[in-house]
């Protein structure tokens, strides 16, 4: 998507630039095309939402950015350094600035360690921090994420609720003073009320620590409020990237529209969406469809979609869509 980069008038350098990211896995002599040629930027202070249904490769993108494991090809430029190809000490030196919060609050935390040790672990990796200073930082960070340090200090993860565990995970990520946090479905396994608390906490922490976020989720409703821009993924490829409000007001890619109309309305009197829901299942990532990957389920598919892969095009200011026959702007 080089034209995207040229067309966007950058005044500041992006904190993270993902270029032509590809991740393939060999599974029993066959290749899974988990992520195929994905490019996007995250600007300093920005929250980019990355959405798509389960299995579309969005978590793989998140992990490939952190080189856990490294992508098959492509570049991940973080603060001007290409992380792909870095190994050993060089990579470890950058890691603290790029952290991740995971989906499962319980398995994110070592069941055999105390909460204070879990949060302090990143600090013990670098030399020269006095125990008293370390404890002070841990206490501050636990309080910052809304936990009572004294109470949880020597507790084990299983003694906390899911929401509290997620706060601990966030504290562990934040204590290294990272610049970018990848939130991989960080609220998906929490109750709706707790989701809201954690989302608010993320917003607070983002402002307080001057963070950028890559927020991965399968639920557009969750992403809507927190994201400045949203990228929609389908079967290992990006369909559309646009500012949050614009994407919700006028999706240009048929897949985005289908995703949006699948959000249930909280108003019982509201008429359900009249658009037909997309049918079928996600095609096999072993043999992705030719041309446009969404064509097998797309109501607007034409012969061209089979033959040619739609390039990412600018349809409006900051609005990029990869579709031969995009929807009209409303």
């Amino acid at each position: 998507m080089p034209d995207m980069i040229e067309n966007q008038p950058h005044t500041v350098e992006p904190i993270l630039r993902v270029e032509r990211l590809v991740k393939q896995y060999a599974v029993r002599r066959r290749t899974v095309h988990a992520v195929s040629d994905v490019s996007f930027d995250v600007m300093p202070g920005e929250t980019l939402g990355l959405v798509g249904e389960s299995g579309c490769g969005k978590s793989t993108v998140g992990r490939a950015i952190l080189q856990l494991p490294p992508p098959t090809s492509g570049r991940v430029v973080f603060e001007g350094h290409n992380l792909c190809g870095l190994t050993g000490q060089a990579l470890r030196a950058i890691r603290p600035r790029l952290q991740m919060v995971f989906q499962d609050p319980i398995s994110s935390l070592n069941p055999r360690r105390h909460i204070a040790d879990i949060v302090a672990a990143p600090l013990t990796l670098s030399f020269g921090i006095a125990p008293a200073e370390r404890d002070r930082l841990v206490r501050e960070m636990l309080e910052a994420v809304g936990l009572e340090a004294k109470t949880v200090w020597s507790m084990h993860p299983h003694e906390l609720s899911g929401g509290q565990c997620q706060r601990v995970s966030l504290a562990r990520a934040l204590i290294l003073k990272p610049r970018l946090i990848v939130c991989d479905e960080a609220v998906s396994s929490l109750d709706v009320s707790v989701q809201a608390q954690i989302l608010n906490l993320l917003e607070d922490m983002k402002a307080r620590f001057d963070l950028s976020l890559l927020f991965i989720a399968h639920d557009l409703a969750v992403v809507k409020n927190i994201s400045d821009r949203i990228a929609v993924m389908y079967l290992g490829k990006l369909c559309e990237i646009a500012p949050s409000d614009e994407l919700y007001a006028g999706p240009r890619h048929p897949y985005t529209k289908a995703l949006l109309s699948s959000i249930p309305s909280p108003d019982p009197k509201a008429k359900g969406s009249t658009d037909p829901a997309i049918e079928g299942d996600l095609p096999s990532p072993f043999h992705p469809p030719s041309g446009c990957r969404f064509r097998t389920r797309c109501p607007r598919a034409q012969p061209l979609c089979t033959q040619q892969e739609p390039p990412m095009r600018v349809l409006a200011q900051d609005h990029f869509t990869a579709c031969h026959f995009p929807l009209e702007a409303s």
Partner: protein, 293 residues
């Protein structure tokens, strides 16, 4: 006061009594094995200072002596004190049991953890080596090792320990696979932790409970294995006492003086049984904690 209420009160009293009985049973199931093990380990450790006759002193007058105030467990066919011999034999059994498990735990644990953590070629080579050890006939391996040069007890420990390595490796590998795929390990990578540190401080603490339970059970197996090897004459040479060789030597006299065989056999039986019970209890208690995770 209606009959219903009385009946209800009686029912409550009954369940209360049952609950108390069960708690007594639970208490005994935990503490009786521990008491026996403490007794056995204590006696074996302090054998040199206990007021016992020497295990190798022969006395013609005491040949096949019946148990009594002089010889609590009686005397054997050479007139040696069976109690003293049993206690000194226990020492060998326990050293062999713990030593063999230590070898299995350290070597197998290391191999299994590395195989589970790194996967790929490391795993194929390591687990392939384990399969080779498993495929070897255990008795042949034991005979081969014990027939080499060196102190007998050390060779026995080594022989049993080598046989234990694959099982420990498999348990360590299986648990490393479970925990290595958890997100806290990924988080440790993300914060820049080295592999060695991740294995030591993130994975190893999670391997302790399953390996601990298995070790307790395997100490019992190793004690039986040592007794079997010494029954075959492959363990410590005479006159040093060993439970297996004591039983083997007195087989002929079992009808005239059953206690000479019975006491070492009973001590062996109780020690193995209580080790198994203790392992069971530890594993039950750890499982309860595990469910809370």
């Amino acid at each position: 006061m209606s009959a219903d209420v009385l009946e209800g009160l009686e029912a409550i009293a009954r369940t209360e009594a049952r609950r108390r009985r069960r708690s007594i049973v639970d208490f005994m199931l935990l503490w009786a094995p521990i008491a026996w093990l403490v007794l056995v380990v204590g006696a074996a450790a302090l054998a040199d200072w206990l007021p016992l006759p020497s295990p190798n002193d022969q006395d013609l007058a005491d040949i096949l002596a019946t148990p009594g105030s002089v010889h609590l467990f009686g005397g054997d066919s050479l007139g040696r004190d069976v109690l003293a011999r049993t206690i000194f034999a226990l020492r060998i059994s326990l050293v062999a049991g713990v030593g063999a498990v230590a070898i299995g735990l350290v070597v197998g644990g290391l191999v299994g953890t590395l195989a589970g953590y790194f996967g790929g070629r490391v795993e194929s080579v390591a687990m392939g080596a384990m399969d080779i050890v498993l495929a070897f006939p255990p008795l042949v391996l034991a005979i081969a090792i014990t027939s080499g040069a060196g102190p007998a007890l050390l060779k026995v420990i080594l022989a049993i320990g080598v046989l234990f390595v694959p099982a420990f490796a498999r348990i360590a590998r299986a648990n490393t696979l479970v925990f290595g795929n958890k997100e806290f390990v990924l988080a440790a990578h993300a914060m820049g932790m080295r592999h060695s540190r991740i294995i030591l401080s993130e994975i190893l603490p999670n391997l302790v409970p399953p390996l601990l339970v298995y070790s307790l059970l395997m100490v019992a197996v190793a004690i039986v294995a040592e007794a079997s090897l010494s029954f075959l004459g492959l363990s410590v040479p005479p006159p040093a006492p060993s439970l297996g060789s004591m039983i083997a030597a007195e087989q002929r006299n079992v009808l005239d003086a059953p206690f000479v065989v019975f006491f070492p056999a009973a001590v062996l039986f109780l020690t193995v049984l209580t080790l198994n019970m203790a392992g069971e209890q530890v594993s039950r208690r750890l499982q309860v904690r595990e469910q809370l995770l």
